[in-house]
């Protein structure tokens, strides 16, 4: 048990190994910092976190060190005394900030970081808004192409070296360097070697100021207009916790959300930058049917499919599936995509099995690309040291969750290959997909032909494809950004998604569609559904409780 004294308040930190920034945070005392980051090595160079430090002797006397000390570098030990609010500590902070502003352009009005910039925040809280330097500022050249997705506003850099350490210690590929010396130090890359590693985008989040910018986000939104939803990346089975920044039903940015149970502090670029399809105008905006299902079709699209209304399509689909099941339950099947949430998979399984106990459920296509990629890795792709981040080969978020739902409803777990083998015998198929377009065409022409022969083919997907063209009914699917629910990652961690944007004007989320089909009333309520699932399926028992920020382990 160790007791640290922060500004006269004793803090029991137990046996935790903390630095003084972390120890002070325990009682809500904030020590400003730039270069320190819990996932990176300690360099104690920015000198933003200067405090007074001393030691309480067994006899109660306190001996203070004469000099100020960086809190990030100082371990919190029993008897450590840390003072953050003295004249001396405050002066040291203000001086560091004055130094940082000397050569800083202070172009906040045109800077993407404004509003979430630690230089703005700390200057406001701990420093001054002006500097006493009347001499010209240094004006190093900007480097707009330092990375495919990353731009460097060199003059805004405060030389915290977080970005450099990230590329060395986490990514491993070490593209970023400091060049030149003293106040002419700059971040740079070697010619022809931009920072394009699969984790590169994280340097933008790590940058405490507006020096490193995300080109996809640059000048799109002022950050104070953004709303945030906490969610889970759908890119691979790692299931990184993310924050979706959005405004007016448009997703503008995806950022990692720290989760020690899932991925840690970071996300990969595939997950970070693969959101434009959410905002795409090419997605299905409303249901479609090959025949007019009620009154007159709303509009006619190229080919045989007509735009239709939800009011027509839902009852028709329900009726036609019910009839098919009456003809022979085993000739009705559904494919549950691993892009569905647990709640959605549960509802669809319930609906199909409700039509007939003989109806078959199949696990949808599980996309796999290459091998799991572990970081840090050197320039040749060899792993270096302990693994700090993994991009998984399985490019879907919820195979584990959907599998467990399937196992509950049907003893035998049937894969997508089995569906293809049995397709010839089917009368009706409810096919869910929802794969992000980056994965490309997922059915071969041959497979499409096989499935197209099924008389009652219902396709629930994001955008037109050969298989949707062959469908009798098309139901718009929703993306992760439009869903409430949970995904279960490779390690059986169930995490919550909160919807950020609404699916296209007439769109309904997949779960909502299944509620309609089940003739259940009301809007989808993920937490109520989880209670139900937890009661019915032992594997999901832990879903009864609150999933919290970091999710819960299942099984």
């Amino acid at each position: 048990m160790a007791v640290v004294i922060i500004n006269d308040t004793p803090v029991d930190i137990g046996t935790e190994r903390l630095n003084l920034i972390q120890a002070a945070a325990k009682i809500g005392v904030f020590i400003p910092s730039y270069c320190w980051h819990p996932a990176l090595s300690v360099v104690a160079s920015c000198r933003m976190c200067l405090v007074e430090v001393g030691e309480k002797k067994p006899d109660g006397a306190i001996a203070m060190q004469p000099r100020v000390v960086p809190a990030c570098q100082t371990p919190a030990k029993d008897g450590t005394v840390c003072i953050t609010n003295s004249e001396k500590a405050r002066t040291a902070e203000a001086r560091t900030l004055e130094g940082l502003l000397l050569n800083h352009p202070l172009d906040c009005p045109v800077c993407d970081k404004a509003g979430e910039c630690l230089l703005q925040d700390f200057s406001y809280q701990f420093g001054k808004s002006s500097s006493r330097m009347i001499d010209p500022k240094n004006t190093p050249p900007n480097k707009p192409d330092i990375g495919e997705h990353i731009s460097l506003f060199t003059d805004r850099c405060i030389m915290c070296s977080r970005c450099v350490r990230f590329t060395r210690e986490i990514a491993g590929s070490s593209e970023l360097h400091v060049v030149n010396r003293g106040h002419h130090s700059e971040i740079d890359v070697f010619p022809g070697d931009p920072v394009n590693n699969p984790l590169a985008g994280n340097v933008v989040d790590l940058c405490p100021v507006g020096a490193l910018a995300n080109k996809e986000f640059l000048y799109k939104q002022r950050v104070w207009f953004l709303k945030n939803a906490s969610s889970v990346c759908a890119g691979c089975s790692t299931g990184c916790s993310i924050t979706i920044d959005h405004n007016k039903d448009v997703v503008h940015r995806i950022r990692p959300r720290e989760n020690p149970q899932a991925q840690g502090h970071f996300i990969c670029d595939e997950g970070r930058f693969d959101y434009p399809y959410v905002n795409s105008k090419d997605r299905f905006q409303q249901p479609m049917s090959a025949v007019a299902t009620g009154g007159s079709p709303v509009a006619v699209q190229a080919g045989r499919l007509h735009h239709d209304t939800w009011e027509n399509v839902i009852p028709t689909v329900r009726r036609e599936l019910t009839n098919a099941a009456k003809q022979g339950g085993s000739e009705v099947a559904a494919v549950l995509s691993p892009m569905l949430t647990v709640e959605e998979a549960f509802l669809l399984a319930k609906f199909i099995k409700g039509l007939s106990a003989d109806a078959k459920l199949y696990l949808g296509w599980v996309p796999t690309v290459g091998k799991d990629e572990q970081f840090p890795q050197d320039r040749k792709g060899n792993p270096m040291g302990p693994v700090k981040f993994t991009i998984r080969a399985e490019k879907c978020p919820n195979r584990r969750g959907v599998e467990e739902v399937l196992r509950h409803f049907q003893v035998e777990l049937l894969g997508f290959d089995r569906l293809l083998a049995n397709a010839g015998k089917l009368e009706a198929l409810y096919l869910t997909a929802g794969y992000p377009p980056r994965l490309g065409a997922w059915l071969t022409d041959e497979q499409t032909k096989t499935l197209a022969k099924i008389p009652l083919l219902i396709v629930q997907d994001l955008a037109p494809s050969p298989i949707s063209e062959a469908a009798k009914f098309v139901i718009p699917a929703a993306t992760f950004a439009e869903k409430d629910g949970c995904y279960v990652n490779h390690a059986n961690l169930a995490q919550q998604l909160h919807w950020a944007v609404r699916p296209g004007s007439m769109g309904r989320s997949d779960g909502q569609v299944f509620l309609y089909l089940l003739e259940r009333r009301g809007l989808i309520q993920a937490s109520a559904l989880r209670q139900e699932i937890a009661r019915e399926i032992p594997f999901f028992a832990a879903l009864a409780g609150d999933l919290g920020e970091f999710g819960v382990k299942l099984g």
């Binding site: 000397l102 001499d135 010396r181 003293g182 106040h183």
Partner: protein, 442 residues
């Protein structure tokens, strides 16, 4: 001490051959033979410790004590990093030793490695020292050819590899942990301490860093004993229990506005005045001195009136300087503008700051910009206060930086403002402009 016989410069002054045969003929490598034959490593450490030898690289840390900081019974490897970066302005004694008597240094290196059980020594030599590099390499080759380096030296249990490593021209790579980073192939950014190099240094192994001149002294201490060493120099101040004394001789470099710039070896404690008058041939052009840089520019400035200060480990501190430093004295005459002196100093540090600590990176740049403006006739009275505040607030002493470069950058500025304020104010008030042209390599 009129009858002082140079020790380190003895063979150099006599223009003796720098090569192995001549060195051995003059009794060279007898200290190593003695140590390997009759002494345990611990005994060598004890001799050096008892001699009171303090580091000649600038910080003046007791050499033998530093060696005892290595972890006991470490399985190895342990490294010795020999600091031959000698980049403190006005300092050139390491160069003379390496160019003209490399074996004296190498014998000290071998002794230090034997004492500390280091198996590899890296000599980090500044890039500009081409001749020193070549002569050191030739001397090392001679040693390998004669079983004085390599496996089982002189048939004993002791093996040692020595490598020369050329720097790339950065002052900061003379700072011991900057040196280690640079040696490892990284950018010369000093490390935070702890861990200290003795525990985790080069390649994360225990490492001793010593200056060339320090190691040259070791050769003679092992040869002649601690008591002999203590007959030279100044004993500790009995009133100051923490004073380790200033024993031994020192290579003083004299440069600047003197008639005969030179490097002389004298017992520690000689005054600036004696150096200038007796060894530097007096101030040039019949002028008077205005002041001097007493031990490399990091140590601050002395006025002419302070020239009677003894240059031992305690003297310069008594007149507000940072310390003895490298004991490289640079005189500037009465016609020199203190503004030009200060600008040039600030320019050096702004150029050489490694740039990782905010206070040093920004502070050195700011001071340089102020001085540049001042010498162009645009100075303001408040600039002196800003300079003083910045100078006092950067460095490891106030706690705002990682290494001592920032202390060294601030010291001459704060000394100048304290000691030459009237001149600076007059310069500003008169709107004077400099007549000296200095390259504007900011």
């Amino acid at each position: 001490m009129p009858d002082f016989e140079p020790i380190l410069l003895k063979r150099i002054n006599a223009k003796a051959s720098p090569w192995l045969d001549a060195y051995r003929a003059d009794g060279g490598y007898s200290a190593l033979t003695k140590a390997l034959g009759d002494m345990t490593p611990g005994q060598v450490i004890d001799v050096v410790k008892n001699s009171g030898l303090r580091g000649r690289g600038g910080a003046g840390f007791p050499c033998g004590v530093k060696w005892t900081f290595l972890p006991k019974d470490h399985p190895g490897p342990i490294y010795l990093c020999v600091n031959a970066d000698e980049s403190e302005p006005c300092t050139f004694n390491n160069r003379i030793l390496m160019e003209h008597d490399p074996h004296q240094v190498l014998e000290g290196i071998a002794l230090a490695c034997y004492a500390t059980r280091a198996s590899v020594a890296y000599i980090y030599i500044r890039y500009e020292y081409g001749a020193a590099y070549r002569n050191m390499q030739k001397a090392i080759d001679e040693l390998y050819a004669n079983n004085l380096l390599g496996k089982n030296i002189l048939g004993k249990e002791f093996s040692l590899e020595v490598y020369l490593h050329r720097g790339a021209g950065a002052y900061i790579c003379g700072e011991e942990t900057g040196l280690i980073e640079s040696l490892e192939g990284k950018r010369g950014w000093p490390r935070i301490k702890p861990p200290f190099p003795a525990v985790e240094g080069a390649f994360r192994k225990p490492t001793v860093v010593n200056n060339i001149e320090t190691l040259a002294c070791v050769t003679h201490i092992v040869e002649r004993g601690a008591d002999w060493f203590k007959t030279i120099g100044i004993p500790p101040d009995p009133k100051n229990p923490r004073d380790a004394g200033s024993y031994g001789s020192k290579l003083y470099c004299i440069s600047g506005h003197v008639n005969t710039p030179c490097c002389v070896e004298l017992p520690l404690g000689v005054t600036v005045r004696e150096l200038v008058d007796k060894h530097g041939g007096g101030v040039w052009k019949g002028r008077k001195a205005k002041g001097c840089i007493p031990g490399g520019i990091s140590m601050g400035l002395m006025t002419e009136a302070e020239f009677d200060t003894p240059l031992d480990f305690n003297g310069p501190g008594k007149v507000g300087c940072l310390g003895l430093g490298t004991a490289a004295v640079t005189i500037f005459d009465e016609t020199t503008s203190i503004v030009d002196v200060l600008y040039n100093i600030c320019r050096f540090f702004a150029h050489e700051s490694c740039g990782q600590c905010t206070p040093c990176r920004e502070g050195t740049g700011w001071m340089m910009k102020i001085m540049d403006r001042m010498r162009r006739g645009q100075g303001r009275r408040e600039d002196l206060d800003i300079l003083d505040e910045v100078a006092r607030s950067i460095g490891i002493m106030p706690g705002t930086t990682i290494c001592g470069l920032a202390d060294g950058a601030g010291w001459p500025v704060k000394n100048a403002i304290a000691k030459f304020r009237p001149e600076l104010e007059a310069y500003i008030r008169g709107g004077q402009k400099t007549t000296v042209s200095l390259a504007l390599a900011h």
